[in-house]
Assembly symmetry: none
Homo-oligomer: 202 residues x 4
DNA sequence: GATGAATGAGTGTTCATTCAT
DNA sequence: CATGAATGAACACTCATTCAT
């Protein structure tokens, strides 16, 4: 029916339909029939591109992983405040742009060990490591106070994930009327102040 | 088979079995038969106490909600640092104690609008509001710097949730070898410094 | 619906329905739905007694194997002609009584290696071995001429199988109007004469 | 892709691929895709030469039927022992040469009435009739004892079919280490002695 | 003629739910 | 109250067949 101009688009078309349906329904409640309908094709067609339902899920994970972060590395020249803001902004945008994919994945990551480890190793881990490394360098240069960078980085990442996720899931309830920019600004201040060198011990 | 002394304990018995199985398998992958087996009863018996599988899930949510937070209200007399640490410690403990229930719920909250709103309104909302109120009072008393307290509170809550969740799901990978106390201490410092009044504008 | 008096009859009931349907349609063309309908139950019920379609097939094989031959061993006291006739008669009766089961199996044995080896080892093999042993004893006692007993026994068994099978499958065409008794008589004569000691070498 | 020099060879090419795949997998388990792959063509192409999967099967039957037996008719001049040996040898060779075709067919013949009747009428029937006719002539000439030739001929044919089939299917188990020649020799002796005129009644 | 992507009906199987005991 | 055998709707997946290229 709904033909796409390029032959390889079909895969993408299915992937996007799957992300949309999985994101809304979760893995188990999403049916191949519905995914097919959402993509405007017949159920059997999906199996020409993906071996089974699970592979479709893993393909979504891979799609996310491969388009992964060139990161705000270039921004490392900025000052500390600028770097934190840049990372926050970048991650919030990433979450927004891949909302359907992420929403589809998170639910499964929560219950599926294999997916969890795959995702953690390939996405979360590197991001946290990169952040920790940056912080550690700033601490070494006395631009930030000494701290356990792994904990800080994880906490910061956690804030962002939760804020991005819940703002996507419940825009009416979570911080309604507050823009991404306001969010970034406030968080930047919170974490920057939290990490700047301090004259005296508390 | 396995009779309980009190007639109403049966409900609790089922609820706990359900939380255990749902927590491990997720809602869809958990079967009534397995929940029954886990509780040492017959599948049919569950239906004498819960109308259907979904009600069982909602009952788990309710069980969490009702045993909810007397909060660190009593601790409000402490200084600010003590309050933040107390809240962090309390929430981390709550997550640990109800791990199975929470794990079961979160996956569903993620995909189920009704459950999400119920949970947000009854659990998340009040907690955030209470925290925001406390912070606001501290700001008014000049013990903390002015800030958008809703954002800060949500960010702090997000850190805790993510840290607790991932530490439960992936103890080997997320901050291995770091104790809860170390975590609380580091986070307290981060957020306290992030919020203390500052002499000059940055 | 169609309740049986004894609780364990349900398994047998399914097994017989399966044998009937498989016998008529073959394994692949037989559907669980049809087997269920033939047994007067719902499709799902079959899975309470058999793990899957293949197990149902294997259970048919086992049913055949267990009700196996006490053989014409008692008849070993008879003279050679009587023995041969007794075995022929017994095997033809066996084929007739288990026609549906056998027909179902043979088709699968033809294409399925596992089933083939199982059936050969447990049914065919022992039968042939027993026959070969008897013949060998008769040869040793000079009541039959020397011969390669394995070949003879296999040939005799082959005749019977084919004759029984085709007479069941095509009663109109294969030896119509000839009774089992006539068959047994003629075959007995053929093989007895074929095996009796001979005065001179040909 | 793989073009054949002559346009009509394509049909044969498909037929042989089909026989190979059907022989190994059986009718239902063989897929058109696999048959096509085995023939080095696209699935759609098969439908240019055969209306559907079933016609492909029937065409295999026809292929067998047409290349049918010029029979050991020429050998009728031999003595009786020579004739029997010649027929046995010829049939065993036929089974070996057409093993894939035959294996594919037999499974279907077993379950498919139409195919069965077609095959019986066109292949089995004539062979048996020819054999019966020969035997009858020998009996009339007092070179063989009087007997029910239809039964004898069917029994002999049955032996051969079973022996050929099982030796093809289970070479390790059925009469391993015995050559076709030994088989023919032993069977010839068995049936010849079984049929030679006898001086006295047993 | 030849292709092979697309189809969708039909399969085996699962499991929430019921109800006779 | 409790049971657990029975149900049957719904699912993932397969594959013979078609048809635009």
């Amino acid at each position: 029916m709904e033909q796409s101009g390029f032959p390889e688009d079909r895969r993408t078309q299915i992937l996007e339909a799957a992300a949309a349906v999985l994101g809304e329904k979760g893995y188990e409640r999403a049916t191949m029939k519905e995914i097919a309908a959402h993509a405007g094709i017949a159920p059997g067609t999906i199996y020409l591109y993906f071996k089974n339902k699970r592979e479709l899920l893993l393909a979504i994970a891979d799609a996310l992983i491969t388009q992964q972060v060139d990161q705000a590395l270039a921004e490392a020249t900025q000052d500390t405040a600028g770097y934190i803001a840049a990372v926050l902004r970048d991650r919030i945008r990433f979450a927004r742009e891949n909302q359907a994919f992420l929403q589809a994945l998170v639910a499964e990551i929560w219950t599926d060990r294999e997916l969890r480890e795959r995702f953690f190793t390939q996405i979360i881990g590197p991001v946290l490591a990169s952040g920790a490394q940056y912080l550690q360098a700033q601490v070494a240069a006395d631009r930030l106070r000494p701290c356990r960078v792994e904990i800080v980085v994880t906490a910061v990442a956690g804030s962002i994930v939760i804020l991005s996720a819940l703002r996507a899931l419940m825009p009416e309830q979570l911080l309604p009327g507050i823009s991404d920019d306001e969010l970034v600004e406030e968080l930047t201040r919170l974490y920057l102040y939290g990490l700047l060198p301090r004259p005296e011990k508390p």
